[in-house]
Every structure is written in structure tokens, then in C-alpha cells.
């Protein structure tokens, strides 16, 4: 059985500066890292591989050629194989087109059991690609997973974090699981892993390799249209009503009337 991890290379947000002239992100010279939530997905996949005999971890990223670096880092942690999904035709993909493209890659890999994703990416923050992949593949999804209790090639029992506590969910496998940071502590790379990752061949799969339908990929295949990206205006400072509590309360009531009733 193959355990698949979907990862994304993102700018290191601890490193990002805003260009004061244009108010946009200064991306030049900013280090790229693996999306922090994906690190937990990688760690969990490796842990399951270590438990489940005969399984292997395939890590997949869709992005520009330099995303191969993220795949190498994942291999240095213990993933067996990395695949880069990259084609100019994929440019401008929204979450729908991205999850379609990734699902085509997963179909090509075949023999998949669990597909791990981080709960969301730190740049886009949509949390849609994982669930999207499950829909395109027609398999179940469990999001915000904080613990994998039991797993084999037929089913898995997991804990999904909720605001109040957690749900225990049993799901058939194959399944898409997105994980939260509570699930584990990602390991560091090992020296042998680093050496292996340096030598690892990372195949690049294009739209043609994946037999993607042209109208489902890239900008044309993306139903989302971004109209405008802007920085919301900062909230104006509040007002503190001073004086005796009774008078302040009266004034407050007056203000509320003014604002709400008009």
C-alpha cells in the first residue's frame, strides 16, 4: 500500500516583508519552506509506514520546478519517493483545478491507501485542496485529524478535532486525511536521508503524463476569479467612556441607539 503525502512549498512567513512603496509582499530573497502543516502530514505518513509492513510513502507536490527542493527535504525525513507535478499549463490553478490535477497524479501512482495533507497552507489558507482531492477521487475525507488510532489496508480509526473536543471516526481506506499540529512532532532529517535525498531522482509529471482534460486545469479550468487583493483598512481605535458607571452606561446606551437605530 502506498501512503501519499501532498505538500506545498510556501514562502517562509516569518521572513516575509511588505514593500512599503507598493504594499505587496516582497517575495524576492524570501526563503521557501514546506508548508508547516504539511510537516505534520509527512511525519504521520512516515510513522504509519514504520508500523505497516510493506507500505511506502510517496510525497507529491504541484508547483514550479524549484518545488523539487521541498520534495527532497521530505525524502531526507524518510519519505521513499518524491513526484513533482509541474507544467506551465497548470499556472493559475485555483483549489478546484489543483485538487483535480493532484487527483490525476494520485490515480497514476495507484495502490493508494491514506492520502495525507496538512489542514491548510500557510499562504492561501483555504483548506480546500485536501477535501477537493477526496471528491475528485470519490473517496471519503476526514479533516482536522489529531490522532490516528488504528490503521490497516481496509480501514482506519482517527480522532478529528472539534471546537469542543474530538470525534472518533472510523473510515474505510482509501481516505484523504488532513492533519492538525496536535497530531505529532515532526522529526528532523537524518544524515542518511539527506544523502539519499541528494541522489534521489524526482520525476516531473506534466498535464500530458497525467492525461488531464485541458478544460479542467490551469487558469481556464479554475472557476474561481480573484477580483481584487487588498489589505483591509485597520480598525479604528475604540472609545473609553469615563466617569461614574451610571452616567457612562447612559452615554453608552445613547451611542448604541445612535449607531444601531440611526
Amino acid at each position: 500500500m502506498k501512503i501519499i503525502v501532498l505538500i506545498k512549498q510556501v514562502p517562509d512567513t516569518t521572513d516575509v516583508r511588505i514593500d512599503p512603496a507598493t504594499n505587496t509582499l516582497q517575495r524576492e530573497g524570501v526563503k521557501s519552506i514546506i508548508n508547516p502543516f504539511d510537516m505534520y502530514a509527512i511525519e504521520e505518513a512516515i510513522r504509519i509506514k514504520e508500523r505497516l509492513e510493506g507500505s511506502e510513502v510517496v510525497v507529491v507536490s504541484m508547483g514550479p520546478p524549484q518545488a523539487a527542493e521541498a520534495l527532497r527535504e521530505a525524502i531526507s525525513m524518510g519519505c521513499d519517493q518524491g513526484i513533482l507535478v509541474s507544467d506551465r499549463k497548470f499556472a493559475g490553478s485555483d483549489t478546484w483545478a489543483t485538487s483535480y490535477t493532484l487527483s490525476q497524479a494520485i490515480r497514476k501512482i495507484g495502490d493508494y491507501g491514506i492520502i495525507f495533507c496538512g489542514k491548510q497552507a500557510s499562504d492561501g489558507d483555504t483548506a480546500q485542496v485536501g477535501p477537493g482531492v477526496s471528491m475528485h477521487l470519490g473517496i471519503p475525507q476526514v479533516t482536522y485529524v489529531k490522532k490516528i488510532e488504528k490503521v490497516d489496508s481496509g480501514s482506519a480509526t482517527v480522532e478529528r478535532m472539534t471546537e469542543e473536543g474530538y470525534d472518533i471516526i472510523e473510515t474505510p481506506v482509501p481516505v484523504v486525511i488532513t492533519v492538525v499540529k496536535e497530531i505529532n512532532e515532526p522529526r528532523l532529517p537524518s544524515l542518511k536521508g539527506k544523502m539519499r535525498s541528494k541522489k534521489a531522482e524526482i520525476p516531473v509529471w506534466t498535464a500530458e503524463d497525467l492525461k488531464c482534460e485541458d478544460e479542467k486545469i490551469g487558469l481556464d479550468g479554475s472557476p474561481t476569479r480573484v477580483l481584487k487583493v487588498f489589505t483591509p483598512a485597520p480598525r479604528e481605535g475604540g472609545r473609553i467612556l469615563e466617569g461614574e458607571p451610571e452616567e457612562a452606561a447612559k452615554e453608552l446606551a445613547g451611542l448604541i441607539k445612535e449607531v444601531v437605530v440611526g
Binding site: R187, L188, L191, K192, K194, M195
Partner: protein, 387 residues
């Protein structure tokens, strides 16, 4: 400075620094306070393949030597000089096997050390034998296919935590220094026990303990080299391990400089940062000069030792002495730059000063090192004269 590391060496350095930064630094103060052994970090070292960097590939290591051990010790010590000892003192305990072990002994012991499954410790010091190794009282008496060990070793780093002990004991007291032999002793051998755990000034994230041998039967297959080679084993081991102590001192010193530069840049007095004062600038510059000189010296000594050069005692001792004296001086200056804050445990530099002190003392005090250096000089001088 660019020391022209190989790709593999750079990988070791980078990974060890990452471990120091992400895993050691956040917990160093806690281990220092609790005086506990850092097993969770040993697990990290093991999982990252750090434990075997100086062990040959055929025994499960990465095939490096003293140089690789030194760069790993340097970076881990940047995180914490005490916690790094779980790795570095294992190196000290392992070198007797690497240098004098036969193939069977290497096969039995090195793979588990390389994988990080087992730690090692070197046992030579006793209550009345430290600098004067000739004062060893622990005995090894031959009894058929075994030697029976009796005696108490003191201040053993990794004592009680390590599984593998390399021990120097007297097989023939009458012969003095030539009557000592070295043995490999497993922790679980009946008669091996451990005394009190020392409460130390620094390197408190390491274990320092008495190792007690009471009628411990060690099979003769565990004798290292031949009977009577004990002191040679010890001296050659120290030749190889001292650059490791030097590297530990270097890591501590580098951390002190890094902390000082940052603090001097942040701390404001008289409406400007203290880094704008020449008095502070010169201190920082002097720290950097000595640290870089230490690094150049250690790396050169380590490379020379790894090249198989003979008579490396002098360079090994020079690197240890210079780097440890540097670490002491630099960490004292770091506390001075931090001023009142430097004296407080809330800030990291007083610990660096406490940790640095031991590097001038163990694996031969710096006075003993100077003795080693001087006797090599005199020997070399005499040889020249004869020509």
C-alpha cells in the same frame, strides 16, 4: 571563513546546528537546572544518524573520523555543552575500540554505538589517579578465561547511562605504567554498579558518576589489544578525543559570541545601542579573533590526525588547550557584556561560563596539556640536534 568542507561534512555541520537550534536550545536551561540526563535528545541524535559520524561504514557508521566528530561536537555544544556530551563522551569511550579493538570486538560493539542504541563511557580517573594515571588502583586479575575487575572509577561522564564501558585497570601492579590493560565491560555484567551522581558547576545536562567494579568477571575476549597496553590505549585515545573537547569548547564560545553580538545590538544605554561603544566593539572583535583561531586550529589538527599522521599528541593538546582557554575567556567576556543581566540565570550566558570551565580541566588539565606539548617539543629538539 571557508574551511572547504566536503558536501558530507557540511551536511553534518548543518544538521547538527539545526538539532542544536531547534531541539537542544529550547530545553538546555531546564536540563541545566534539573541536572537530568537528556535521553529524549539522545533519541534525536540517533534518529538523525549523528551517533556514528566517526565510525567506519562497515560497522554501521558514516565513515568519518576525528574531523566529523569535532564538527558535530562543535555544533551540538553550541546548543548545550552538557547535552552534547552524551554524544562526545561516547566518542571518548568508543575510541579505544576503534583504535585497538579487533574485528570481533568492533563487530560486537560499534554497530549499536553507531546507531545510537548504546552510549559509551571511558573509565580511567580514580580518586587518587587523574592527571597521574600511574596511580590507578583498580585491578584486573586473570582467572582462566576471564579477568576479575575490582575498584572504583570516579567522575565518569555518561556513567550509569552508557551500556559500554572501556576501562583501564592494572593487570600487573609491579610493572607500573606498563602493567595496565584496557577492557570493554558491558553495563549489565554482574558486579558493575554506580555510585553517587555528581552535582556539578556546569555541563549539568550530562551524567557524571562513580562506576564501581566488584568482582566483575570480564571474558578475555574483551581485553583491548594486549595485556600491558592500557596506558598506550589511554594516550592514543586522548590524542583522538581531545579535538572533540576542543570542539565542545569552540561551540560554547561561538554561542557566547553570537549571544553577545545580538545583545550588544539590542541593549541601549545613553540613548544608543551598546554595540556603538568602542569598548564593547573591541571585546567582540577579540572574542571573534580567538574563536576563529580556535576553529582553524581544531580543524587542522583533526584533519592531520585523520590523515594517519604519527605523533599527533602535540597538535591534539595544542588544539584542546587553546580552544578551552578561549572558551573560558570568551564566556567571561560575554557575561561582562551582558552586565547585570549576564549574572542572572534568566539569560543564557552565565551557563556558558559554567559549562566552559570543565573544558580546561577534563581529558587532561591544561597544565597536563602544556606538559605534553613541552615534552614533544623537547623530544623534537633533541632529534634535530642529533641530525
Amino acid at each position: 571563513m571557508d574551511y572547504l568542507l566536503t558536501e558530507e561534512q557540511q551536511m553534518i555541520k548543518d544538521l547538527c546546528h539545526q538539532i542544536a537550534e531547534e531541539k537542544i536550545k529550547p530545553v538546555a536551561a531546564e536540563y541545566d537546572e534539573k541536572n537530568e540526563f537528556p535521553w529524549p535528545l539522545v533519541k534525536v541524535f540517533a534518529e538523525s544518524d549523528i551517533c556514528g559520524v566517526y565510525i567506519p561504514e562497515e560497522y554501521g557508521g558514516l565513515g568519518g573520523g576525528v574531523f566529523e566528530m569535532a564538527i558535530a561536537a562543535e555544533e551540538l555544544s553550541w546548543g548545550c555543552g552538557g547535552i552534547a556530551l552524551a554524544f562526545a563522551a561516547t566518542g571518548l569511550g568508543t575510541y579505544p575500540i576503534l583504535l585497538f579493538g579487533n574485528d570481533d570486538q568492533k563487530k560486537r560493539y560499534l554497530p549499536d554505538i553507531a546507531s545510537g542504541k548504546k552510549l559509551a563511557a571511558f573509565c580511567i580517573t580514580e580518586a587518587e589517579a587523574g592527571s597521574d594515571a600511574g596511580g590507578i588502583k583498580t585491578t584486573a586479575t586473570k582467572d582462566g578465561d576471564h579477568y576479575i575487575l575490582n575498584g572504583i572509577k570516579q567522575w565518569i561522564t555518561n556513567g550509569g547511562e552508557a551500556e559500554v564501558y572501556t576501562v583501564v585497570a592494572m593487570t600487573n601492579k609491579a610493572k607500573g605504567a606498563r602493567g595496565a590493560s584496557a577492557f570493554i565491560v558491558d553495563k549489565d555484567t554482574p558486579g558493575v554498579s554506580f555510585g553517587k551522581k555528581e552535582d556539578k558547576l556546569g555541563i549539568r545536562g550530562s551524567a557524571t558518576r562513580e562506576v564501581i567494579f566488584t568482582d566483575v568477571r570480564v571474558p578475555k575476549e574483551n581485553l583491548l589489544g594486549k595485556e600491558g597496553l592500557g596506558f598506550i590505549v589511554a594516550m592514543k585515545t586522548f590524542d583522538h578525543s581531545r579535538p572533540g573537547v576542543a570542539a565542545q569548547a569552540l561551540g560554547i564560545a561561538q554561542r557566547a559570541l553570537d549571544e553577545s553580538v545580538q545583545y550588544a545590538h539590542e541593549r541601549r544605554q545613553f540613548n544608543r545601542t551598546i554595540s556603538s561603544f568602542q569598548g564593547i566593539q573591541f571585546m567582540l572583535a577579540d572574542m571573534a579573533i580567538q574563536i576563529e583561531a580556535s576553529r582553524a586550529l581544531i580543524y587542522s589538527a583533526a584533519r592531520m590526525i585523520d590523515s594517519g599522521a604519527k605523533n599527533v599528541a602535540k597538535v591534539s593538546a595544542i588544539s584542546k588547550t587553546f580552544a578551552s582557554d578561549t572558551a573560558m575567556k570568551v564566556t567571561i567576556d560575554a557575561v561582562q557584556i551582558f552586565g547585570g543581566y549576564g549574572y542572572m540565570k534568566e539569560y543564557p550566558v552565565e551557563k556558558l561560563m559554567r559549562d566552559a570551565k570543565i573544558t580546561q580541566i577534563y581529558e587532561g588539565t591544561n597544565q597536563v596539556q602544556r606538559g605534553v606539548i613541552a615534552s614533544a617539543l623537547i623530544k623534537e629538539g633533541l632529534a634535530k640536534k642529533r641530525v
